[in-house]
């Protein structure tokens, strides 16, 4: 909302400075966005006259001017064609900052002739694009007086942000009322301006609604004014509109814009001669259409509040008028409209048709229902004053809704909710100044809410009114009390695990990223998603349509983009949600990561090593271990979802069903569909599936009981069929003598010369840990036999000979 300081003073009798006013606006909740103070910008720029012009001795296009700046004559070299003796323009002295060019003006010699200052063009003054010549003022202002005043720019423009609840401050008068309440001056009342109509309006007006739809337009006042001259607006009106960025059009249009801005009372003026018959205010039927004032042709759905005549729709109520009844230069007879339109319907119409207008902006926030008739009368008076003509009596359809919500207000609520003590007298004073009528009552204050404050409906609203006028700054800040001296741990297991996952993966050299929760449909389908229930109805782009079934596609795509920039070797991870369906239970937290390119790059000590499935398995296992999962007890399965390489991926499970993680090489087909070079390996840890930590009585660890006897390591080279899983062999080995075998690890895998076709050699190091006595050779031999037998029984393994 823009207005000028001078405009504000037409409603507020104040001695406050601009700074005091803008500070107060922000403190009241009418946040200052900007002050555009042209007078301050053009300080030092003065009205000056060129008294003499002579040719430049060394340049054909330049002139040497003598300029009277009110105090003395200075010499200025000027290139403008229109520079001539007797021209009054704007002089910028040496040292000025030229707003249009951003340059600081220095004393200069131009082709050998001294130049002390400049006569400015419109462009240099930031008044337009015209740089063809210097600006020419038609003014009586004395030489040396401020140029901003002579240009009509003396009045600073204030721009404030008005919150959606304060429709009443979308007019200068409402803003002045708030400032007056805050002690910045006295609100000047709006003068009653009743105009007696000399005849009955020839255009009748009726409301055509059902009881259910009557809120669309409960009150509509019209008046004919005949014999007007739609002249150019007077300077005061044009300057106001220009200052806030509106282009003056004609008196009738400008007057309705002026009332919109001045007192938040949108009006509409029809060319009465273009109206066929009477006006009816009603809801549109689907298919009706209107050529609107903005030059667009709108086809309406049903339910739009329209003003129509015998021939059809003339105007969209509260949103925009129509071209057919627009007032032009030749308009002679007009019908002025002041009406009340429903905020919700107005907003819906504007949104559906994509029309932004000053009227819509105000009606959808709620116009003062009591302003209809006073607005009409004041507008009539101004039209008669500027355009002449003869006003009819008012045509009134409907009535203003019942005013005045009454609230009982306990003043103690200000302290209870607001933390600030105020007396009842002070509370009453503030409320009265804001237009509420407050009178002492048994329960505190009996408060009548003014018609323009639709937003105030309960005691908490009144608390805010009193607090914001007193100033939030006055509320003493109190520390939040703590129930206990020391804070208690607050993170849940799931929250702690997400943190463990993040920091353990980062410690392993993976870089955390955060990607959008939605991905393209193609990618969602590649990763098991793409269901209709998770597709956005209004996506922002075709690449962000589906809630993701997996984090991997975004990571893989990111790896591709980084590779395109020359960073092909990287590890990325994200801890975030994935979605199986649209219910709250369908969302699950997953830690997913990828490694692309080489895990270790080329180095003088060895060759580069590309990422493989075991890197992904290691990453996933590290997360599980950090989260307290007994990793050794997990079963690896070669089953993995379809987006992994079918022979180079697997999953870790707890029990037969619960999948804790999947890992492996990404399927080359998936990579090629995503246009990313492979190989890429990845993993997904389903944090929600991890078993809850076992409840323990305390934090004490079991006592460490290191075996007093030396452990013995024996190596076994087994030959198995190549389909046999190493984990099955190791499990069989470990199970051969659980009391003695502390560990078994595969340390070599070999197939080739010396090993039969379709077979593989797996070498296992077994650690034997005696607890009673040092092992004898025969004991070792006995357990070795058991190991070989167990391996053979479980997997068909034989010792390699």
């Amino acid at each position: 909302m823009k207005f000028t300081f001078g405009w504000l003073k037409e409603h507020l009798d104040t001695k406050a400075t601009l700074g005091e006013v803008t500070d107060a606006l922000t403190a009241l909740g009418l946040e200052l966005e900007a002050i555009h103070d042209r007078a301050a910008e053009l300080e030092g720029f003065v009205v000056a006259e060129i008294t003499q012009v002579s040719p430049h001795p060394d340049a054909d296009k330049l002139k040497v001017c003598l300029v009277d700046n009110g105090t003395k004559e200075v010499q200025v070299v000027c290139g403008a064609d229109n520079a001539r003796a007797g021209l009054t323009g704007v002089f910028a002295p040496v040292g000025s900052h030229i707003p249009g060019t951003g340059l600081d003006l220095k004393k200069a010699r131009i082709r050998g002739v001294e130049s002390s200052g400049m006569m400015c063009s419109a462009l240099e003054l930031e008044l337009g694009d015209d740089h063809s010549g210097i600006i020419e003022l038609e003014t009586d202002a004395p030489l040396g007086s401020p140029a901003a005043d002579a240009l009509g720019l003396g009045d600073p423009v204030i721009d404030i942000a008005v919150t959606p609840n304060r429709g009443d401050c979308l007019g200068v008068h409402g803003i002045a009322r708030d400032l007056a309440a805050a002690g910045l001056g006295v609100l000047k009342p709006l003068m009653p301006a009743s105009v007696k109509g000399g005849y009955e309006s020839p255009v009748g007006i009726s409301l055509d609604f059902t009881p259910e739809t009557s809120a669309a337009c409960p009150h509509f006042i019209g008046r004919t004014i005949r014999g007007v001259k739609n002249v150019e607006s007077p300077a005061w009106l044009k300057e106001k509109l220009l200052a806030v960025g509106l282009r003056p059009i004609s008196a009738l249009v400008d007057i309705s814009n002026y009332f919109t801005l001045d007192r938040c009372r949108p009006l509409h003026v029809f060319d009465a001669d273009a109206i066929a018959g009477n006006l009816v205010v009603r809801l549109s039927a689907a298919g009706e259409s209107l050529a609107a004032l903005d030059g667009e042709h709108y086809t309406l759905g049903d339910g739009v509040c329209v003003i129509a005549d015998d021939d059809g729709v003339l105007s969209l109520g509260g949103v925009m008028g129509g071209a057919s009844t627009a007032c032009g230069q030749g308009t002679v007879n007009v019908l002025v409209e002041a009406a009340l339109f429903d905020p919700i319907r107005t907003a819906a119409t504007g949104r559906r048709l994509g029309i932004e207008s000053d009227a819509r902006f105000r009606f959808e926030r709620g116009i003062d229902p009591a302003s209809t008739e006073p607005g009409m009368e004041a507008a009539t008076r101004l039209i008669l004053e500027i355009c002449g003509g003869e006003a009819s009596a008012l045509v009134v359809a409907g009535a203003a809704p019942e005013p005045g919500l009454g609230l009982t207000f306990a003043v103690g609520d200000v302290a209870r909710l607001g933390g600030l003590e105020v007396t009842e007298d002070r509370a009453k004073e503030i409320l009265d100044a804001l237009g509420f009528q407050a009178r002492p009552d048994s329960g505190g204050l009996r408060v009548t809410v003014p018609s323009w404050r639709r937003d105030v409906a309960c005691a908490a609203d009144l608390v805010e009114e009193i607090l914001r006028v007193e100033g939030y700054a006055k509320i003493p800040a109190l520390p939040l009390s703590r129930p206990t001296a020391l804070p208690k741990p607050v993170a849940t297991t799931a929250q702690r695990r997400a943190g463990f996952a993040r920091r353990s993966l980062a410690a392993r050299g993976l870089v955390e990223t955060v990607t959008y929760s939605f991905i393209g449909q193609d990618q969602a389908r590649l990763f098991g998603g793409g269901g209709d229930d998770l597709r956005l109805e209004n996506p922002i782009s075709s690449a962000l349509t589906d809630l993701r079934p997996s984090i991997l596609p975004a990571l893989i795509a990111a790896a591709g983009r980084n590779a395109d920039r020359g960073f092909a070797d990287l590890g990325l991870f994200e801890v975030g949600p994935v979605f199986a369906d649209a219910t709250p239970g369908g969302q699950a937290l997953v830690a997913a990561g990828i490694r692309a390119g080489n895990v270790s790059p080329r180095h003088w000590g060895g060759a580069a090593r590309p990422a493989d499935a075991f890197d992904a398995k290691a990453d996933a296992t590290a997360v599980l271990a950090q989260c307290g999962v007994p990793v050794a007890a997990l079963k690896t399965s070669a089953e993995a979802p379809a987006w992994y390489h079918p022979g180079r991926a697997g999953s870790l499970r707890l029990g037969p069903k619960t999948v804790l993680c999947t890992f492996g090489e990404i399927h080359p087909g998936v990579l090629s569909a995503m246009d990313v070079d492979g190989p890429v390996v990845g993993f997904e840890v389903m944090l929600a599936n991890l078993p809850a930590p076992r409840a323990k009585a305390g934090k004490a660890r079991p006592v460490l009981a290191p075996a007093p006897f030396q452990a013995v390591t024996r190596d076994f080279a087994f030959v198995v069929d190549s389909g046999v899983e190493a984990e099955a062999l190791v499990r069989a080995v470990k199970g051969a003598d659980k009391g003695l075998i502390a560990d078994a690890q595969v340390f070599d895998v070999y197939a080739g010369v010396g090993i039969g076709k379709g077979q593989v050699s797996l070498a296992v190091a077994v650690t034997l840990q005696p607890t009673a006595a040092t092992l004898t050779d025969s004991e070792i031999e006995a357990v070795s036999d058991k190991i070989v037998a167990a391996a053979n029984k479980a997997t068909g393994a034989r010792l390699r000979v």
Partner: protein, 361 residues
């Protein structure tokens, strides 16, 4: 020949020979020639048996002296040669220590995660617990319960992403703020409440300063006494701790949110000089969060009596405070997964923030 030599002469000869050898192999040859089974000293000792008993003692002592002197000389010489050999080997083993070590990838924590951890560290100290809610919400939790009825202009301002309605006809949407977690918390557990709810939020808006997904943290304090003064104190303490500026000025301005009344926006002081932004006392203000006393309608919607229960709520944008604290210029870059950006603005894995240990390194 040696038989003819006296022990004295033998000693002198052998010692000279030992002193003359230049490597361990030659020294070993001398040792064998002198002290080996057929060595000259050994034979000398063996010859003792052939001597008359009266000579044996003196001769024996002399022989022993020879053996001792020679053995000692060999040991000493061996030590010297060993040391020289080691020195020579080590000289051979020189490596170029300026060569680079085996490469190890360095991981980083994303600024959003790090900032969330910082916020949790601060609010945790103030006794807040962390609450969570789903990203896919319904109209009721995201709007209606928060005093934003259907057709309220604020619904349009939220630029909501919608999903197809479920079987029961309930409109599904992506939460536009973390405030629905307030509703879920109040509807599922008894008061009082002191929670924060960090998480993803979504609005269908995308330009230089908006991304379709961003992160917020919601705060809610409900008990029987908390008022605007506590709101001010809590947020002052928070802002000063987070930005690590003890005298950071705050400005509370009246504002409007449908779910709070009275409402405010909070600005922190800053100074802009030479194109640089400094958080702290200065001549300008930066808006960083919205807050207010929870609207009585919201309490009623959650089954609480606003005559008994009261308190405040606040919400702030995580990316925004991260950008301000760490000087990150562009919101969109948070979600681009550019490894250069992640490595530059990311945080070390072990950099777990705490108020005691320090928030930011």
């Amino acid at each position: 020949m040696a038989d003819l030599e006296t022990p004295e002469k033998l000693t002198v000869d052998l010692l000279a020979e030992i002193a003359g050898v230049s490597d361990l192999a030659s020294l070993e040859a001398v040792r064998i020639r002198a002290l080996g089974q057929n060595g000259v000293v050994t034979r000398l000792m063996k010859g003792l048996a052939a001597l008359p008993p009266e000579e044996r003692k003196a001769q024996g002592q002399a022989n022993n002296a020879v053996k001792r002197a020679v053995s000692q000389a060999i040991e000493t010489r061996k030590g010297a040669l060993d040391a020289a050999a080691l020195e020579a080997r080590l000289a051979e083993e020189r490596i170029d220590v300026t060569l680079p070590v085996r490469p190890e990838a360095t991981g980083f924590i994303h600024p959003i995660s790090q900032t969330m951890d910082e916020l949790m560290a601060i609010f945790g100290e103030m006794g807040f617990t962390v609450a969570e809610g789903p990203d896919v919400e319904d109209d009721f939790h995201n709007f209606t319960a928060l005093n934003i009825p259907e057709d309220h202009p604020a619904r349009q301002m939220h630029d909501t992403f919608y999903l197809p309605s479920d079987g029961a006809g309930t409109a599904k949407l992506l939460r536009t703020h973390t405030s629905p977690v307030q509703i879920r918390t109040m509807m599922s557990t008894p008061p009082p409440y002191r929670i924060i709810a960090p998480g993803r939020t979504y609005r269908c808006d995308s330009d230089i300063t908006h991304t379709p997904m961003f992160h917020q943290i919601e705060g809610l304090v409900i008990d029987k006494a908390t008022h605007m003064g506590h709101l001010k104190g809590c947020l002052e303490d928070f802002c000063r701790a987070y930005f690590e500026v003890d005298d950071l000025p705050l400005r509370f301005r009246p504002s409007y949110f449908p779910f709070t009344e009275p409402s405010c926006e909070v600005d922190i002081g800053c100074a802009r000089a030479g194109g640089e932004l400094r958080i702290g006392a200065g001549d300008d203000w930066l808006e960083i969060l919205g807050a207010g006393m929870v609207h009585p309608n919201v309490l009623v919607n959650c089954g609480l009596d606003p005559g008994v229960w009261q308190g405040f709520a606040f919400g702030l944008g995580i990316e925004r405070v991260a950008m301000l604290k760490y000087g990150i210029p562009d919101l969109r870059t948070f979600f681009e997964s550019d490894i250069r950006w992640l490595s530059h603005y990311g945080f070390a894995a072990l950099d777990q923030p705490s108020l005691v240990g320090g928030l930011a390194r």
